[in-house]
Symmetry: D2
Subunit: 349 residues, 4 copies
Amino acid sequence: MNFRSDNEAPIDQHILQAIIDANQGSEESYGYDRYSEQFTEQCQALFETWCEVLPLATGTAANSIAMTLSCPPYGAILCHEDAHLNRDECGAPEFFTGGAKLIPMPGEHGKIDLDNLDEFLAGTGVHGEHESLPCTISITQCTESGTVYTLQELKRLKAIKEKYGLALHMDGARFANALVTLDCSPAEMTWQSGIDMLSFGATKNGAMMAEALLIFNTAYIREIKRLRKRSGHLISKMRFISAQLVRYLEDDLWLKLAKKANQQARLFTQETSQLVECLHPVEANEVFCRLPVVLIEQLKQQGFEFHVWPGHNDVIRLVFSHATRERDTKGLIAAIEAHQFRVNQQSTG
Amino acid sequence: MNFRSDNEAPIDQHILQAIIDANQGSEESYGYDRYSEQFTEQCQALFETWCEVLPLATGTAANSIAMTLSCPPYGAILCHEDAHLNRDECGAPEFFTGGAKLIPMPGEHGKIDLDNLDEFLAGTGVHGEHESLPCTISITQCTESGTVYTLQELKRLKAIKEKYGLALHMDGARFANALVTLDCSPAEMTWQSGIDMLSFGATKNGAMMAEALLIFNTAYIREIKRLRKRSGHLISKMRFISAQLVRYLEDDLWLKLAKKANQQARLFTQETSQLVECLHPVEANEVFCRLPVVLIEQLKQQGFEFHVWPGHNDVIRLVFSHATRERDTKGLIAAIEAHQFRVNQQSTG
Amino acid sequence: MNFRSDNEAPIDQHILQAIIDANQGSEESYGYDRYSEQFTEQCQALFETWCEVLPLATGTAANSIAMTLSCPPYGAILCHEDAHLNRDECGAPEFFTGGAKLIPMPGEHGKIDLDNLDEFLAGTGVHGEHESLPCTISITQCTESGTVYTLQELKRLKAIKEKYGLALHMDGARFANALVTLDCSPAEMTWQSGIDMLSFGATKNGAMMAEALLIFNTAYIREIKRLRKRSGHLISKMRFISAQLVRYLEDDLWLKLAKKANQQARLFTQETSQLVECLHPVEANEVFCRLPVVLIEQLKQQGFEFHVWPGHNDVIRLVFSHATRERDTKGLIAAIEAHQFRVNQQSTG
Amino acid sequence: MNFRSDNEAPIDQHILQAIIDANQGSEESYGYDRYSEQFTEQCQALFETWCEVLPLATGTAANSIAMTLSCPPYGAILCHEDAHLNRDECGAPEFFTGGAKLIPMPGEHGKIDLDNLDEFLAGTGVHGEHESLPCTISITQCTESGTVYTLQELKRLKAIKEKYGLALHMDGARFANALVTLDCSPAEMTWQSGIDMLSFGATKNGAMMAEALLIFNTAYIREIKRLRKRSGHLISKMRFISAQLVRYLEDDLWLKLAKKANQQARLFTQETSQLVECLHPVEANEVFCRLPVVLIEQLKQQGFEFHVWPGHNDVIRLVFSHATRERDTKGLIAAIEAHQFRVNQQSTG
């Protein structure tokens, strides 16, 4: 029973079928296929606005191209210190931008502390050309701690970005999971909240490999196709990426899949609320919780798979995916309850 | 009937089935899956040597990472002036290497003129640090003109690379097509011929998106996985890339597919030898030929798809793929013969 | 009276004379002049070891080339959060290295907290290729807070760098000022303390524009001249850089100049110890002190020049240089005493 | 007697004196000094237009920053195959631009063949995002062959750059030598001829180390000071660079120095016209000529210094500088005549 990552889950059957269906005869290569075109139209309808759409195979590519569009080499990118961008991409943003500087910002539960951000920005500029020029704020939605920026917080971010004339990027590797939590429209969570660019993820939510970069603000339109090509991300048989994305959006499949994942996380949290301490509010499909080390070992032996958090042998991350079955979640709950029961027995025995 | 590119062909059914089969349950992400491991073993058996194997989604990524491994930013890469690396990757090698210099070399039929290469290299070094340091020779096999370096020519290249202490890279986007032409072992066409690194392509020969970088020479081993990650090429559900590659090599599927493609090209060339002037020897699955402009127009109207070569309105490129049916090839031959017949009629009429 | 920066001081007369003397007839260009050769020999004698020596015009170039030699693009550089490298070079290290990641480390008084550094490094590696690989530690000696790492602290740093197999770089923009404080040999403060590479500064201590990169550890020898050339730092009439450096080291001129600067800082600190609160120990030629805002204004009006520290309107930095005259220092002291006298008068009046 | 390079010549006495004069007291650092300001005003007066002016220590920096301003990483730069930019900067333009592609263009006598350039540009674009986007044309004036583009040729270049919407850059390492040849105004040879950016060289013509980047076209204004800083080219005591440039332009010193150099080249060419075959028209201060190998050896033994051209043991380059004395030139002429006399004697003897 795998709670390790939504990246380890299989492809949703509808999306797999879309790949199979796309394998009919020949089709224009290098992104000039009918699916890529269709996906652009879907996005513009879904987000209720014009936007440029670039299908890609990885989120790292989407994030890094977004940084390149908004931040010159002499610029700085502000993101949470735990942001995937900062910690888990082995310097991809620095590479793509030609050496822009990432400035890690603090904040609880994976969200940038907005007061501190404002104060930090107010203090920049005094060293003139000796400083990298702040150009881009990047947030992750859901955050790396499994939390979700509220529309109120996004509004505040919009005010800050406008105050300092910065670009605002959203790393939406788990965009659908956040959206179903906020229960708002895609437009509200993005461009209406000042988001200029969105890395729109589908892989963690049921696709095989399919992400897209969406650009809402025409100020950041550049030779985006050349940037994709020269980083090796122009896939020749692009139809098989875009066909996934097309199906992902059809019939609200993406929302259904995300709801399933979030529901399992919620089920787990509710049922174990008396037994398990969560480190961050559980707002989407990830749970970070503290468990007795001995219980962690037992769960492993019982075949439960999850990450023990680096540096903390009593903290685990559980990720619930579109493929998590309710019986798996209940099995995990039962295992924790059984442990607690034994402990209680011993202490009262 | 599509003769435009093997990139426009569908996925071979066996490979598609392998993707479907791989979609069972959860699997380690980020390349630590069983298929990636199996493919490494297959490669080492197939090439009869130890090699490092890095599955990737695109050939541009494979080529560019290879350049990064062998050529520092102050170095120079020697390749044919028509090489994909030089003409069709929008500066990807320059980007990945941090600004290495590509030096385009001349040569007939897409092959580097080896005398000229030797002479050029003999003349380098006189400007000391003012010159970029030649580090890597990259060849394409099959070449961009559809020709194949002979083992004899590769032997000569090996002597040159050893004389000057350079790395030798093979861009094998159509590796299988070349191999079945030479009818030698993969080892003979690569490391036994001095090839240090190979971009091993499968996409053009029936895969969905699947390439691999193989490194035979331990001198070029570096943090290859970090290079893949930071360029955004570490696909989270990598199992679906590697599963393609595993199947590609099983049952000699890759060779069967390449033979089918080459056969159609040979069929076309043989049947039209009296009617059509080929610009380059037809040695694999591509044909570059000169046709009357009026015939080119007629063929288009009859639904034949192909590239008219940039800058030459009477030259077309025909690419035969694993999916080209013999009846399509014969249809094309018939259309050309019919035109010729009409012309003959008119001139004798 | 200028206490703003040692960069605003004039050239020491002996060094200016050396430039004039070097202007005799023609001389080999691009660093193959006799002065560059002589300076290498001087360095090897002074540091009592073989070392590679690269004269340069700026410290940013020296630092950035050092980073390039020791840290690949997928690597990480650890430095103090206030390090010039991190804050004041507009991303130069990121640019030169091709996008390596700078990881800012905390610590009091401009020195990296070594316990924290050790702990941080112990925690790296768990994310595999997703993390940038720690490769280089860079310290500044004197630090940006005007303090000096003791030999004891350097010994500890050496142990840490050896424990994790990292490179250790010293940004010695004010190397001479630190050395006369520690009163040890250049060898002791560098390679004997595990320093692999040194940015050896002369500009702030009396030269016109003259710095050098010294590499003690042969593991970091690469095409250093090509790195200099391709970053535009190979000055054609290099003799005029190297002639400065040669004279700088002759007759212990460099130590005499640094001693003069440090003495003035000490004089100021001693005479004002009852009046002025220093934020950092004064260990070389820089003083960071807190003064009443009204006094800061008065001093400015009296013609004293200094930096008010960004974000702190009651903190100033005073830099004493080789050109600071004792009468200037005493003038500043007197102005502060006079203010205090007036304040006392008022409070007792 | 040095005819090897104008880079090996000493500093002109007036310029050296300006450095000495600038060494009075303290002065704002990092380019905010009075000389930098004055030089900007001089340039704007001299070129009869607004322009942005960036003093620098090397021409490689000026060229490379110019490329960065006008060519994105996915762009291409067109220059003569023998251009310094292409051959002698060890990949600096590739480095600064983040991997733009240099496309070497052919042409006689160091000048780009303009018909061929036009034709080449007309053929670009057909491969879409697979091709690097042509963005910048860079010419060298005087060229690397010692020739000078005429105003007529510049006019043609202007038409081409406008036709294709490209930037036009002039590498003016020997700008003064070209200008005195054309005998036109600086404005005519630059922005009135479509030049958007000029690398304005002074080092080869009598300065110690002093170049400047001038930008005439506001379309190419970006964070130029940050680009200078992050490449390590912001010299802290910048006053000593700018003071050279100020003096260089005063009293037409720069033109006088260039005239002296050109005159000696003309004297040599005229006096040896019957004896020496020149490979390129001698239009400024450089002479490329074919001499008997035995004579080349004799000249070397007599103490004449010059470059034997790489790959051609019977071709030498003679560079005449501001410091070349007429008696040196005549000495060289005499040595060649004496050799010819001996040869004649022998053949008639």
